[in-house]
Symmetry: C2
Subunit: 349 residues, 2 copies
């Protein structure tokens, strides 16, 4: 469906991908399996960060790998239940922290994490630092297979955002849409409850003015149905709204499977329906199949869904490799600087 | 699918339903057609408010009606594009205003409007007045055929709500879930980005405390996927979020139709697919098929979707008849008084 599913084309130095092998619901079994699958399709080297014995045990199942695979030892992991900042101090050798340090030290080009998103965010911000003008990382990307080129920012990492934060999300999302998805001059919109400038809550109304005076290709407000109408390439919202939407969509995809089963069973075999539902699930669970970048940190970090199986891990690594190949990090720094030059940046506003 | 689709059972006085015959995208043709269809299935009388000539012209198409149909003349209508308050003053004999006056004067038991929601809200608030402690009407109800017993409040009439407003929505939604949908002791939840009390934006975190100390059956926060998991009967959110969700769902239903067409065409005929898509559309467009009450006004008003065809008009009238039969208005007044007695009410807080 998407061009970015294809194997990478670079013929230069292999891209060094660090994977937090202990992160995710099915680690290290599925992380290792998925990482090895990705290794075969890209010009990359693999650094598996985790408990040496456990990771090597998994590696042994698959025989000698086709390319360079290194195990980087770590101690412990940070779970979803822990407070990220607290855990960061308590477990300095946790897999996600060791992984981030590899990127910081220039020993890896990108880190892929399937573990706690909160821990990935906190660790990345603390170890790698934030880009100028940003306080916290944000998460975004295409979230809907029905609109695979439409980027939604933020997906839940920031709530109660100031207008200046939304503008930064827009700038980062624009670069992603342009460079990663190949959209020329991406149309940026604010998610609201009506198209008119006067519609929306205070946050959106104030942001509208800021967006209008920015250098971005701002096309105004869009509404909930406009995700399906090709009205904008980057849709910006508070993470509170984005998180509800993405989880709602995932839930709906799963629920529709059961619902359609009843409607379709007169026409199709179980096996045929399974194929349809599988595609439907992927369409409504896009981030689970490809992961998404942690925007705003000074280093490349790709976050996948915690419930990813091997193919989700491979998908996140695909995204990671292409992210590095395309030099997105540098483009984003430049874009934020451009916003800043226009006097519009500022978490400090 | 739903028990409230069945004909009414009351054998007392017929319920007098005023319909704004000029409201909606297909008025008066579809409004009159749908109203006549509903007339046949309920113990009701019909008051069609509108341009006499136009309405009578439509009535003539169908021959003598089975029951009492009265045409109540009005002049002009308020469109979606007009500012509701401004139009209210400029067009004192507009169909929606004449209709609301019928309810106020006790000449109709309920008003059904397919026209501008803003105009219906403003007119109802001004002509009928608000229940104690409320400043503005709110809109809510089941919005998802996959979860037809789950009430979402508010769907877009109030943004930037105070916690006390969300509590009022919860109280009104509870009565609706209990009396209209038959749910015993409805579970009330706040829509958020995590189940824990600490999760959410400021609005939700502050509301959590207020909800906890209320007499409602508060079960905590739910997330986007929980609409499909039977976690709560009444889900409360700011109208900004509710409006985005309802429009997103409608758009998704339509888009899925096209998407599934491609997946299903090898297995089914065009005609068979049409049946499936039609059911899917209804499932994702529930409010279009049944309308919903305008909560908080001192009179029964049911608002249907502007794009309703005759069956959507009939659906809204079904809802109207049952709303009156069940004495929901009185129950809601009592529930708000209960909230107030607990010292928790107060748009003035």
């Amino acid at each position: 469906m998407q061009s970015f599913d294809s194997p990478s084309l670079n013929t230069g130095d292999p891209i060094r991908v660090a994977v937090d092998a202990m992160g995710g619901d099915y680690a290290p079994q599925e992380t290792v399996k998925g990482a090895l699958a990705a290794l075969d399709t890209h010009n990359m080297e693999l650094l598996l960060v985790g408990d040496s014995q456990a990771v090597e045990g998994e590696l042994d199942k698959y025989g000698p790998p086709s390319k360079s695979v290194k195990v980087v030892p770590s101690v412990d992991k940070i779970s979803d239940e822990e407070h990220p900042m607290h855990a960061f101090r308590q477990k300095p050798e946790a897999s996600i922290i060791v992984g981030a340090r590899l990127v910081k030290a220039g020993q890896a080009d990108v880190l892929v994490s399937l573990g706690s998103t909160g821990a990935s965010m906190a660790t990345s911000a603390l170890v790698l630092g934030m880009m100028d003008g940003l306080e916290r990382p944000c998460i975004g990307g295409p979230f809907l297979g029905l609109a695979p080129r439409t980027v939604l920012m933020d997906l839940g990492s920031n709530v109660d955002c100031r207008p200046s934060q939304l503008l930064n999300f827009a700038a980062l999302g624009s670069v992603f849409a342009h460079r990663f998805l190949g959209t020329e001059n991406p149309r940026v919109a604010l998610l609201s409850v009506g198209a008119e400038k006067s519609k929306g809550n205070r946050q959106v109304q104030e942001s509208y003015q800021l967006f209008e005076s920015s250098h971005l290709n701002f096309v105004g407000n869009v509404e909930g149905m406009d995700f399906f109408g090709d009205k904008a390439d980057v849709i910006v919202c508070d993470g509170f709204v984005g998180n509800i939407l993405i989880k709602f969509t995932e839930g709906m995809g799963t629920a529709l499977g059961g619902y359609l089963g009843r409607l379709l069973s007169p026409y199709m075999s179980e096996e045929q329906m399974k194929g349809v539902f599988n595609e439907l699930w992927q369409t409504t669970n896009l981030p689970r199949t490809m992961g998404g970048p942690l925007f705003g940190v000074n280093g490349a970090v790709i976050v996948g869904h915690g419930s990813s199986r091997a193919d989700g891990v491979s998908g996140a690594i695909n995204t990671a490799v292409r992210y590095v190949e395309m030099g997105l990090l540098e483009s984003m720094r430049e874009e934020l600087a451009e916003v800043s030059r226009n006097g519009l940046l500022g978490d400090s506003q």
